[in-house]
């Protein structure tokens, strides 16, 4: 080992140790738990703990609620990622326009929801979504749309939570996109304009390639985030109505911490881990093909 590489190891050692203790070891422990039948009975008497192989996974596949929660999570991700990233990009493009005044003020105002507490904002949004008195329904009434029971109807509960989540998180990616947009080469933009390219063509062929890597990063993070959505349904709907907002993570939380079926919950965690890994891998392949990475 050269002196240089020794120094490098020395500098990375603290971080590697922390990663080992809080990430690698717990992951292996969770994997080990997922092949046991750890339940509240094992908490009572360790003699009740057995190795069960893949039984937890088999049982999981036979549990309707697991499939429902998987479906709900995918709906969250499929609708939520474009919604959140689209809103962020739109807001960033608007803020990037030269004619917009008081930019710092807008940036702060739009970023503010991201740094507020989920629980506090969820309480406010529950009032906004209220079927009888909610501001949202009163607004809809003005344009002649009948009342929507946002959080009480199993069909509208996911869209309702997505509206809340989008409002809450779009500010973060907006700031990231604002930074990326500032780096779009202005000479290219002007050249395109001189060649007669309209707004859309300039966005498609100049802006988009320039912010491609940032977009990919935002997509990867958002997909991982939406697959792990938990706090919002937990505080807005408690997984209801009729379990229409129970997500994989919510299911895992209930199994693991509420009922202490840690074997089963670890199996769920492992499935989720594999899912996120796969999706991220696919996304990075797409990115590589487009030479963004």
């Amino acid at each position: 080992m050269t002196r240089q590489s020794r120094a490098a190891w020395l500098f990375t050692a603290p971080v590697l140790t922390i990663i080992l203790i809080v990430l690698v070891i717990p992951t292996i422990a969770a994997l080990a738990l997922s092949v046991t039948d750890y339940s509240v009975y094992a908490l009572a008497d360790p003699g009740n703990l057995h190795f069960v192989g893949i039984d937890n996974f088999v049982e999981l596949l036979a549990t309707p609620l697991f499939w429902r929660s998987l479906k709900n999570t995918l709906i969250f991700a499929v609708l939520g990622v474009p919604m959140a990233i689209g809103t962020s990009l739109l807001a960033a493009l608007l803020l990037n326009d030269a004619t917009v005044r008081w930019k710092p003020l807008w940036r702060v105002a739009l970023f503010a929801p991201y740094v507020t507490s989920v629980v506090a904002t969820a309480v406010v949004w529950r009032f906004l979504f209220n079927e009888r008195f909610g501001l949202l329904n009163q607004g809809l009434a003005l344009i002649g749309i009948p009342r929507v029971d946002w959080l009480g109807n199993p069909n509208s509960s996911i869209p309702a939570i997505l509206i809340f989540v989008t409002w809450k998180i779009f500010g973060y990616n907006m700031i990231v996109f604002t930074a990326a947009l500032a780096a779009v080469p202005q000479d290219l933009m002007e050249a395109a304009r001189l060649d007669g390219a309209g707004r859309w063509l300039r966005f498609r062929h100049v802006t988009l390639p320039a912010i491609g890597p940032t977009l990919l990063l935002a997509a990867v993070m958002s997909v991982a985030g939406f697959l792990q959505i938990f706090a919002e349904p937990y505080v807005m709907t408690l997984g209801g109505p009729a379990q229409s907002t129970t997500t994989v993570l919510y299911f895992m939380f209930e199994e693991g911490f509420k009922w202490w079926n840690l074997g089963q919950a670890s199996a769920v965690a492992f499935v989720l881990f594999v899912m996120i890994l796969l999706l991220t891998w696919i996304q990075s392949r797409i990115g590589r093909r487009n030479e963004w990475l």
């Binding site: 039948d37 339940s39 509240v40 009975y41 908490l43 009572a44 003699g47 009740n48 049982e59 549990t63 309707p64 529950r126 009032f127 209220n130 079927e131 959080l151 009480g152 199993p154 807005m236 709907t237 408690l238 209801g240 109505p241 009729a242 379990q243 911490f257 509420k258 009922w259 202490w260």
Partner: protein, 452 residues
């Protein structure tokens, strides 16, 4: 406000009671000295004094570490008012932490797994078997602690012939009703049988088509469980190792319950949607509300919105008249991990004493489990009569540790029926399958002879 201050004090005390406070005072003095040397107060010195002041304010003169108590909902919020008497008599300070009831089950289990349970904890009666099984709570050491209690309540909590908890806060459900709305429909009080209840509800709905009659939250199992018990359902079979929900009494209870929603007599709403049930009750959004005695406290707080002459209480209706009712009654337990069991039990004795029970009844409404408390004049109020009668008839709790979870599954099945996602037949078949799945572990242990 009180809770926040309390929490702050606790935080600083956790840092290491007396010695730290003294250290801070010394530092504080040094700060003052150096300020004098510099000649004049600096902002930094003043800011430096703030933590010292906070710690100084929390420091207690006694060197005794406080006993820790965890309790849920109103019991947790108001328990600190019971403690000055105990501290004055014994010199032991008590620290109460209030847990939100919706998150308390997981909090308690996690605390047990982590060895962090407090000395004394409140458990809802349905949880005692589970916590006794995992050896989180100790058996009651002396029969004197449970002497003089209402026998119906005490016996229902006995596990394999032993007591693990001292009944504390009795909370049977009754119906709170709007006297004016029920009166307009031609009734002095709600009928107490299912047929009459429904007839009255239809009469009210005809007069007030835009409002509802009942409030039965779709994610709270109390109302439906009561109906099932009253219809005579035995919920589990084969030594409580399998679900027994495809039975006539369960079907009858489900049908009656679902019909209330189908006829528009109850709103299809969960607790997350009804943000202020008191305001809705005051506005007449619904006229009849099956609820527990703590609603008495809410109604007292909101007396300007809904004056006392506008509401009254009655027992819940059953198929042929009142019967057993499920509730959120709670008991006090001592954790197995406490290193001061004698003091902890002394605290339980204090909290379940006649005086404490009566004070608590005045504050939060929940009723005393102690029989000798019932001759007190405060319990002779007409509004408490329904509770008093109901108290002697608690719904039996099936003897399985999974019961809390099964209750949730029952309510989910009912919600699917109410929302028209499944028929009663489909929902009950699915419920039986689900409960069999939840009880698989218990079944295996019973078959192996590891549990009775």
């Amino acid at each position: 406000m009180y809770a926040a201050d309390h929490e702050n004090c606790r935080f600083y005390r956790c840092l290491g009671s007396g010695s730290l406070a003294r250290g801070a005072t010394i530092r504080h003095r040094r700060t003052v000295q150096s300020r004098n040397e510099q000649g004049g107060p600096t902002r930094r010195a003043m800011l430096g004094m703030l933590p010292a002041l906070a710690i100084g304010a929390c420091a207690r003169s006694t060197g005794v570490a406080p006993l820790r108590v965890w309790a849920m909902s109103y019991e947790g919020d108001y328990s600190p008012h019971l403690m000055p008497g105990f501290t004055a008599a014994t010199g032991i300070p008590v620290e109460v932490q209030s847990l939100p009831s919706t998150a308390s089950h997981e909090k308690l289990l996690t605390a047990h797994a982590g060895g962090a349970l407090p000395d004394v904890l409140m458990l809802f009666n349905g949880w005692i078997r589970e916590f006794a099984m995992i050896r989180a709570v100790a058996p009651v050491p002396s029969p004197a602690l449970t002497a003089g209690l209402s026998p119906g309540i005490r016996d229902a909590l006995r596990i394999d012939g032993r007591d693990y908890a001292v009944p504390w806060s009795v909370a049977p459900q009754v119906q709170y009703y709007r006297t004016d709305i029920v009166g307009e429909a031609g009734y002095a009080a709600p009928p107490l049988d299912w047929g009459g209840w429904l007839t009255m509800a239809r009469a009210i709905k005809r007069r007030r088509p835009d409002n509802y009659v009942f409030l039965m939250l779709l994610n709270w199992p109390g109302a439906l469980l009561t109906m099932m018990t009253q219809a005579g359902a035995t919920m589990l079979r084969d030594h409580a190792t399998r679900g027994n929900f495809r039975s006539d009494p369960v079907r009858a209870a489900f049908a009656y319950y679902a019909n209330l929603f189908a006829e528009g007599l109850a709103p299809r709403a969960a607790s997350t949607e009804v943000q202020d049930p008191l305001a809705a009750f005051a506005q007449g959004y619904f006229a009849i509300w099956p609820s527990s005695p703590t609603t008495l406290l809410d109604l007292r707080r909101r007396a300007t919105d809904i004056p006392p002459e506008r509401w009254a209480t009655a027992r819940l209706a059953g198929p042929n008249g009142p019967g057993p009712v499920s509730g959120d009654s709670a008991s006090l337990c001592v954790s197995t991990t406490t290193d001061r069991p004698a003091e902890a039990w002394a605290l339980v004795r204090h909290m379940t004493s006649r005086d404490s029970e009566l004070t608590f009844q005045r504050m939060i409404g929940n009723l005393p489990a102690r029989l000798d408390a019932w001759d007190a004049p405060q319990l002779a109020l007409p509004v408490l009569r329904a509770f008093r009668e109901q108290m002697a008839q608690p719904a039996p709790i099936p003897p399985v540790v999974e019961w809390e979870r099964i209750q949730g599954e029952i309510q989910l099945a009912a919600e699917r029926v109410v929302r028209g996602l499944q028929t009663i037949g489909q929902a009950l078949t699915a419920l039986d399958e689900r409960v069999d799945q939840l009880l698989a572990k218990r079944r295996a242990l019973v078959d192996a002879g590891r549990i009775a």
